[in-house]
Amino acid sequence: MEKQSLIDLAYLAAAVLFIFGLKGLTHPRSAVRGNLLGALGMLVAVVATLVHQDVVGYGLIIAGAVIGGTIGAVLAVKIEMTAMPQMVALFNGFGGGASVLVAGAELITKDPSERSIAFALTALLAGLIGAVTFWGSLVAFAKLQEYQAFKKPIQYPAQQWINAALGALVLLLLVLGTMYPQYAWIYLPLVLVASVLGFTLVNPIGGADMPVVIALLNSYSGLAACATGFVLENSVLIIAGSLVGASGVILTQIMCKAMNRSLVHVLFGVLAPAEGAPSADEVYGGKIKAATAEEVALLYDGARRAVIVPGYGMAVAQAQHAVRELADLLESRGVEVEYAIHPVAGRMPGHMNVLLAEAEVPYEQLKEPGDVNPQMAQTDVALVIGANDVVNPDARNNPASPIAGMPIIDVDKARTVVVVKRSLSPGFAGIPNPLFAMDNTQMYFADGKKAILDLVAALKDL
């Protein structure tokens, strides 16, 4: 009994460490320490479990830990920062998978006479949520990694009907399994259906909606761990799982608000241009002004305030270091430089911030739209690189647009706008962007990284 109390105390200490760890993330100063506290909490929880009286097979444990630890360490250390979103998705999925297996193991080993309704319910939930998380995360990984087969949603007929049918089936199995805990085998078809559902739910989601989906899957993996905690009657799993679940839900909400689309719409809706919407030719015809590096450099001559708006394209072009070079050069010429980061720019919440941090941009220069928009009228040059929909004025001006109501970065109000793009191809929303045709806009057609480096060279010549 005494040993068990010590173990429980250790679990509590671990939970407290997790909480303080997450608190550390409220500021870049304390963030590294916060992460270390979280890792320490995990260590405490693991050690406490190792001395549990039920744990005897240490050989298997060492094997599993070494294999998993090596794979995890190698992956974490070797990947490029730009592959961050898919790495988080992958690890997330693995956590969900672990929940399915642990709940399943507990179902099998638990004495059938001790299977209460609550036990059955939480075990089934752990399997359900864990399976959806695992397969959904794998699909997300494939999409972000841009594997050929997953670049576009895989089409098959009656998608929404199939989703509805699967959802109904999974609920039915959940209810049946809970009402009849003696039939533990119901877990198997439940996990199977949930796995398919994980695929069908994430498959239709396109590129720019990925931040929402990843945040959602993140919360699911926490909820799965939480459910497993109920199954094992283990408090640290419940607490940690709830923290992660809450975190994911909040991030999902923030993403949806930033896109002005409801979660339901993101998951089940299709983005289509409104009927009778102007075509690209009508919007752009004859109004596009293309500039060279030298002409853009001249725009910066005498400028006092510059804003840079990064988007997914910057990540693709790997231009963040070049952008930082540009910012440094501008600052040395007395220009005030700020970055306007839209919440859903990129493929993951905070994606742009991580890329720019990698390029050693001081984090004080990374601003939210709310900070930058009020001063846009006093901004001499706004440089848009790799972003499209988040700077599309239609969101503000055109109620019929598919992106109507979405909060954007008001670069159209700046004195001059320079858009770095390879071509006039549309962004994720598939609609033309009137920003490109505006009088105070110059298009700078080139590959992101080369464009910025050429611009830097031209500026140095001034």
Partner: protein, 114 residues
């Protein structure tokens, strides 16, 4: 089905959980609700600039499932528990180790200043 069944289940669980660390259902639900509140309070104060490390870090914490995996893998008897447990342990350890290391890498970048 209904509230009576749930209450009965709670009693059942509490009775079966008489030994050691098992957390009675009502206590577990209490902990769950409170933890959600704590989670909301903390997470809403995290600035957007740190959202990616938040996703990565919270994801690492969700690897707490490793505790359950250890219990299963270390059961020392039967076939399924150790087998499923081993698999779960590998997956969960990748989640934990990879997650904390990746988060650390990200956060180190935020530390450097010009």
């Amino acid at each position: 089905m209904g509230i009576e069944t749930l209450l009965f289940a709670a009693e059942e669980a509490a009775a079966a959980a008489g030994s050691g660390s098992a957390l009675p259902l009502m206590a577990a639900i209490t902990v769950f609700v409170l933890a959600i509140f704590v989670g909301f309070e903390i997470i809403t104060k995290i600035p957007p600039t740190l959202h990616t490390p938040l996703m990565s870090g919270s994801n690492a914490i969700s690897g707490i499932t490793v505790v359950g995996a250890i219990l299963a893998a270390g059961a020392g008897q039967g076939f399924w528990a150790p087998t499923l447990g081993l698999l779960a342990l590998i997956l969960a350890t990748i989640n934990v180790v990879g997650g904390f290391l990746v988060t650390n890498r990200m956060l180190e970048m935020f530390r450097k200043k010009k």
